[in-house]
Point group: C2
Chain length 201, copies 2
Amino acid sequence: MAYSSKLLERAVEQFSTLPGIGRKSALRMALYMLRQPRENVELFASSLVSLANNVKHCKVCNMVSDEDRCPVCQDPRRNHSLICVVESARDVLSIENTQIYNGLYHVLGGIISPMDGVGPSDLTIAELEKRIEDGGVKEVVMALSTGMEGETTAYFLYNRLKKYDIKITTIARGVAFGDDLEYTDELTLAKSIENRQPFKF
Amino acid sequence: MAYSSKLLERAVEQFSTLPGIGRKSALRMALYMLRQPRENVELFASSLVSLANNVKHCKVCNMVSDEDRCPVCQDPRRNHSLICVVESARDVLSIENTQIYNGLYHVLGGIISPMDGVGPSDLTIAELEKRIEDGGVKEVVMALSTGMEGETTAYFLYNRLKKYDIKITTIARGVAFGDDLEYTDELTLAKSIENRQPFKF
């Protein structure tokens, strides 16, 4: 596309680097920015720069944080003997959103993926072991994605952690609320029957 | 959602102001930014700030431009007697993309919409009349959106421009390439029959 303005073109290019944003949406965003007061655009830009420059990762769980230790790890009301292992910061936010989980987290920072060149040493597995060795951990619950890479990572983690005297669990798989049985894949349906629970009301 | 980081939260808030971006996509974008090298984030931010601070509007056609006159208005090879009236800069880029149009543009900067409080005086209609009065214009083709607001604007423009000795046209409406007749709305189908063209191959 031929742009009438290099400045516009450059902004569109930048927007189209964002995940899930194509050329058309990027143009829409750049033109939207053009219609905003200058202060708003500067606020937008400065919030990104300060995110990039000032954000840290929690030294305990590797979660995105403003301080050396994230609010969850600092909270004395949380159950410090339970660690939920997740792939990314996004998963932590999703689980926090349920308001049901009271333990701590451990963000691996990825998933074992030979295709993408991500091996176990690229993840924070050694840090997780260190936390267990420091004592006080009773259970590690793995909340990793399904699919080959997630299963591989879970299996690898299990092999590394089984030497410790802790419980190793994984989140339940089953038919989601609102899903029809007839449209549920066989693997999920099979798992949900296998792991059936006492009926509660 | 409770964020572990105020910086992250602020970036998510900023991303979610963008058109078509909800909370989840905004979080995805903010976390994506976190994974980028600092220079990239700064480049992103500075491209937005310089867009907001330095971009101009062409003094002739009101198109987004780096200079006082946009490249289209400056181009002597274009047909300066033909002006295509559009709502926004995005429409200019869409038409330029077809590589079929060789005239100039006039960007209204909106569409008459009493609901949104946009009246004729908010648009660059006086500037369009000035261009016609300056002479040399032979035809104005209106490329406005269909729907009530587009039709109102076209009708208003027609009434304002009919006193000049120029041709006033509007882009053809019809069945789009690849569309099935059975799924085409009646209005479009009727228009496309009414405005039938000699068969060419």
